[in-house]
Symmetry: C2
Subunit: 334 residues, 2 copies
Amino acid sequence: MNLKSIERVGVTSFPAHYSGPTLGEVGEHRAIEEIVAAAPSRRNGDDAAVLNHASPNSRAVATTDMLVEGRHFRVDWSTPEEIGRKSIVQNFADIEAMGARPIAALLAVSAPPHTPVSYLRGIAAGIHQKVEEYSAELVGGDLTSGNDLVLSVTAIGSLGGSRPELTLDRARPGQRVVAHGHIGWSAAGLALLERFGRDLRRIPEHLIPLLDAHFTPRLNPGRGVVARATGATCMTDNSDGLIVDLSTIARRSGVSIDLHSADITPPPIIYEAAEILDADPWEWVLTGGEDHTLLATTAGDPPSGFRVIGRVGRGDAVTIDGQPPRYGHGWVSF
Amino acid sequence: MNLKSIERVGVTSFPAHYSGPTLGEVGEHRAIEEIVAAAPSRRNGDDAAVLNHASPNSRAVATTDMLVEGRHFRVDWSTPEEIGRKSIVQNFADIEAMGARPIAALLAVSAPPHTPVSYLRGIAAGIHQKVEEYSAELVGGDLTSGNDLVLSVTAIGSLGGSRPELTLDRARPGQRVVAHGHIGWSAAGLALLERFGRDLRRIPEHLIPLLDAHFTPRLNPGRGVVARATGATCMTDNSDGLIVDLSTIARRSGVSIDLHSADITPPPIIYEAAEILDADPWEWVLTGGEDHTLLATTAGDPPSGFRVIGRVGRGDAVTIDGQPPRYGHGWVSF
């Protein structure tokens, strides 16, 4: 998704309640100490971090994602803890989507000198909370000054055993398409924010889970490993939009995918938000992305925690009940 | 080192000879295709990259470094190929400094929409050239838009066998301090650039190796692995300045380090640059950093390719011929 509505003023304005010394005032070393204190790891602090594998002969899996202020988050909408948590979830979802277990993260940050240290500490605290949930660690990083606040997270996972990883090219006709997690919630939350800002007096309380889904997408740790262990062949996470992400699987696997509209019908909470905003809830479901829902294919029963949403067939199209989807675009950076 | 002399104008001005379409014109997908074409890898293109270990039971080693335009490089001084090469060398030096072998890199880029695609392709080509030298691969990445041109590279290495990694805390009194690579050359090159710009009519031809050392620090692949295999106990790379980096070893190991001035005396090329610039060559040697020289300690003979530059003792100071160094500061980001 694109934060189209933001206007750049050239200088990041951090909310006033992040007071206290700035990065420019305390310097690099003290700022790094604060990050390490907020997200402690025995492996951190050397030229590079050494990762012990969980199981002998396991393979390493690695992915990276960059978050740019004004582009992927806004400091007036998100708390630093939320930014930190999201930066981990979106990377760990990619690790899980290979069927691997996230074990470590590295964080590189560019921040303007007027960034409050308390803000950076909040990002580190959010990261720590999320890596702890996965029994992983923030094992290293880099901090530098720049005009933009930019977070670059790399996640490393462990892929045990000899079963193949869950690549994008192994969907086969006749298999089921299955999903774990919400679809369209993050986009609905963003649409509410774009209309109302983060003004809780204007957003009905029962719609708050949509904002939460946008600020900190939820994914139960270990679903990717479970799916790989119980017969999934192909997996990705819904990051760019349901149709776009499934189209990638279809193209790479040389198959078609037909979704059952009844199995991806938006729940009442999404319909309510759509009514308030005079929007089409199906657009959020089909193009929203950023939910980091795991999407997989399997010849057998859905892995624990997954539900069936469609079927793999011959051909190359992604359809809904056999028809072309109403919305097919997704998130691109340029 | 800090590019203190740069004035931010808010918008990166790419040299005019990088013509052709921009990122904003071709879009994210085509731009990623260009990067993958310039630095091909079979492992790239899925949610995450799976790394096969070189040897059974080897451990993974990971590090990250961020390069911000105007801060770590200037587009009017460096070619994109040089920026790409340097981004790899500085990360792989950290992997080597653990005694590990670099096997993979990930690249996250934030770039303004007016960035020429040919410029990005140049960065990828430089990265590819350098990872090839190490028999490593660029296995994944992320591309997003932002105001700044920011590169975030993560390097992953393989640490084979059960011998301990070369941490910062294992220097012991009586050991030798050894070095592989030039010291002070990058700082001398930067000083020439700050005075003359990259104007080859104004810089004597025989000083060009100093510019080269700044733009693409050289490090023979495998020196870190050799050092670990032949008795080094402790290792780092000279990234922030010789005195600062050795002080880190001294502090972490609880030892003192005495350097022999005769073994770190600047060579004639550095003296010549200093004379032209009316500078003190020792300041470059002692505080320059960014050479990514490997610095290690060992109880035995210097590992192949290393030379003795000092001795580990009891205490906590870093000295030169027993005296406090004339310059002790180093590079910090804020």
